[in-house]
Amino acid sequence: MAEAAAAPQVFTRRASGLVRVMSPYSAFIYNVLTMGIIFPWTYVWAPTALEGSNLVLGIVFAFVFELPIALAYVWLATSMPRSGGDYVFQSRVFGGGFGFTVVFAFFVVWILQWVALSGWLLATLGIAPTFIGLGVTTGVGAFTDIGTWAASTTGIIVISIVNALAALVLLVTGFRNYVRFQYVMWYAILISFGIVLLLFLLNDPASATAKLDTFAGEVNGVQGFFETARAAAAEAGVNFDPPFWLLGTLLVAPIAWTSLQWATYSSEQGGEIKNANVFRSQVFIIVGSLTLTAGLLILLAVAMQKGIGEDGILVASSGYWYGVAEATIGGNVMFPNLMAMGLTGSWIVVLLIGIGFILNSFQIVCNCYIGTTRIMVAQGLDGLLPDWFARVHPRWKTPVNAHIAYFLAALPVIWGFNMVGEWARWTLGVTFANGAVMTLSALAAALLPYRARKVYEASPGAAYTVGSVPLVTVVGLLGFVFGSFMVGSFLFREELGLAYTGDAVPYYIVLGTAVFGLLVYFVMRQVRASAGLKVEYAFREIPPE
């Protein structure tokens, strides 16, 4: 009887297909890399756009808001381990037309903007500060000239195109090549980030100001850089002693979320035999990597407060938010890595910082391709995009057509982003669009037990309930609410994006991309129907009875 009280072990065949659970560490790394620890916006956007906000607390809020979204993805990924991806998650729960439209419009189309942005980051956050820093520390004027060119419009466009092309070549010639390169990127970025942290921690506002004066003096040819910048910032409207603002602090969360939201981008899980270990492992990976990344972002905020003080942070931010020219160095906004370069006299340290940021910028464009081409292949196989997109190169075994299409589509976006004055304002919807996909996937997770009951009940996550309510419904709903707050903030708060422009064009563009996605769906449905094929077969469940 005592033996019967313990649950009996399962009988397996040798041909069970059982696979030992992967070490969480490997997925951990990729997730941290994907979350963009180098994204500077939290530190240069929030302080003056949201005066009185507390950066550290804002990042904590972002972590808390992202947590249920990330957990919702664990349920989705372990319920549907073969398919992977928001396209299938949302199609299963909301229907194929919805899933296709949302993911095609708000990921595939809008992530083209990220291709342009990653080129911009590479140029202005990576190459420009690195060469400017090298110019100052080595005294070689040509380096400074290169850095200045890299931050110019022409420089950014050229660098962006080369960036996108290099990623294309690396990825189409085999994913293994990318994996080898990513391994190098991981360590380079950690070292670079670590050095930036250390430089801030080893300084204080007085010493930092003096060093930045010297650095800016070499680059800008001006004296008393910091004093001048501070005065200009004050004149532009920056309040250097704002009272604490709780709502403002909450609104820092969406900005920090532009990094942390990508915790779910790589959630894929291959599982032949689903089991609780796999589920628990995924929780560890996602929550673990999210916690580490949030921790690193917080550390940087604390380090900057220690190193350059609140005044320094506000001055740097004024160059970004108010466009105060005096608060830039060599035409570059004082992003954290540029300031860190100004705090060192060593060209080796400058190079190490620069390489890390250059590589993380390149990582971002790779991520753009990896995620969106997988979506396009899946949609091509389902008949919702032309078959051409799903074709695989016979030798390299990669979806080379989808990659090429994405590169070509990115070219006009790169041009527009840098050449069309209003482009950045019009396309502020990028922050909303990407976040909307994840928010809707959180809702899909919440509804999974009700809209895809059999899929849910066959999953290891079905064991977890709060009373009679599936736990996935609780975390999914929480994630949807928090996600809605954040995407809603991007839509309607002046400080955070679309509403800042004061006109309706950005909203029309967001709506327009959704309509475009819907149009593609209906056109493809019609094209397939004329060939006797029904795209609904890619989604519609056959009744078993």
Binding site: P8, R14, V19, V392, Y537, R540, I542
Partner: protein
């Protein structure tokens, strides 16, 4: 290309192909219902019918049962709970056996006895499936072509031979007519796997089996190759590379990422390239849904999500030895 050309009078044959359902009852029922749902002329199954786990349900006092599923302990207290539990197991493709504690204890450490029990339960289920197919398709012209895969034992597959029906065709290792002009050539073996499955063969042996059957084919160009094992390095055979020196095998990680590789068969790739059949239909690697081409011959793997109760499949329309349309499905 249109399925029905205005100029051509001859009707295309529409097949529905699925594979790797591994004992999942609802998925198999969907497979049978696919004939009507997708309006096809034939159902072709690509192998791997047997489930992978057997759940002992140990009886306890008071008419209750105790079992373990997905790493969780379950104490089943009512017939209603039992029915729900069995439904979940059916979806996952598992077998179950109610037993007393003494009977359970007698199985512990007795792999041969456990394997025999697997065979008994799997054969029972397959026989029931054949009967179900006959019932569901009785008033239709649709035939269902069944075969085993590498995961299936010969003992279980003997149920296909032992049950004679009008609608169910045992396609295993033979050439059978598909319609008036096309034939179906089926081979359920795979190349070696880390799990030493019952029906693995070396690549050379698979090639020999193919070439031994080819003389039975009337016209290779009008033959559908139903080969469970996909062609090597085709994109239809991409899976995790596993280190089989440990049990269970573990994914090989290099530079922080799991390594993927092609686990298919060169002999199958050569057969597609050399014989240029109408189409190649493949399974075996559940996560490798895709399409490719060998000369004029398209090859497909619809993938499998049997564990979620989802039937991944492929509709293929053929006429005159050509594929005139295809559609991946998810039902």
């Amino acid at each position: 290309m249109p399925l029905f050309s205005k100029k051509e009078k001859e009707k295309a044959t529409r097949l529905f192909y699925a594979c790797d359902i591994h004992g999942s009852e609802p998925t198999y029922r969907k497979f049978l219902n696919a004939a009507k749902f997708y309006e096809v002329d034939a159902l072709v199954f690509g192998g791997d019918l047997m489930g992978k786990l057997l759940i002992p349900m140990v009886r306890e006092a008071g008419g209750t049962w105790r079992a373990r599923l997905q790493g969780q302990s379950h104490h089943i207290k009512s017939e209603e709970e039992l029915a729900e539990f069995k439904l979940t197991m059916q979806t996952l493709g598992f077998y179950w056996q109610e037993m007393d504690p003494e009977e359970y204890a007698s199985y512990e450490g007795q792999q041969d006895r456990i394997d025999d029990l697997f065979d008994v339960l799997a054969k029972e289920r397959l026989a029931q499936w054949v009967t179900l197919a006959e019932e569901r398709l009785a008033d239709t012209p649709v035939h269902v072509y069944l075969c085993g895969g590498n995961d299936d034992t010969d003992e279980v597959l003997s149920a296909l031979d032992e049950t004679t029906t009008d609608r169910v065709v045992n396609a295993e290792n033979r050439v059978v007519p598909l319609d008036d002009e096309h034939e179906l050539l089926t081979i359920g073996y795979s190349t070696p796997t880390p799990w030493e499955t019952p029906r693995e063969r070396t690549d050379e042996e698979i090639g020999e089996v193919i070439e031994k059957l080819m003389p039975s084919v009337s016209d290779p160009a009008k033959t559908v190759f139903n080969f469970h094992c996909p062609p090597l390095d085709s994109g239809l055979d991409t899976c995790l590379k596993l280190d089989a020196s440990v049990w269970p095998p573990k994914p090989v990680i290099e530079r922080g990422q799991p390594v993927h590789y092609g686990a298919g068969s060169q002999a199958v790739a050569d057969a597609l390239a050399n014989h240029q059949p109408t189409v190649g239909l493949h399974g075996h690697i559940h996560e490798s849904r895709g399409a490719t081409k060998y000369g004029r011959t398209p090859a497909f793997n619809p993938g499998s999500e049997y564990g979620e109760g989802v039937l991944r499949g492929l509709i293929v329309a053929i006429r005159g030895g050509e594929v005139i349309g295809h559609q991946f499905t998810s039902g």
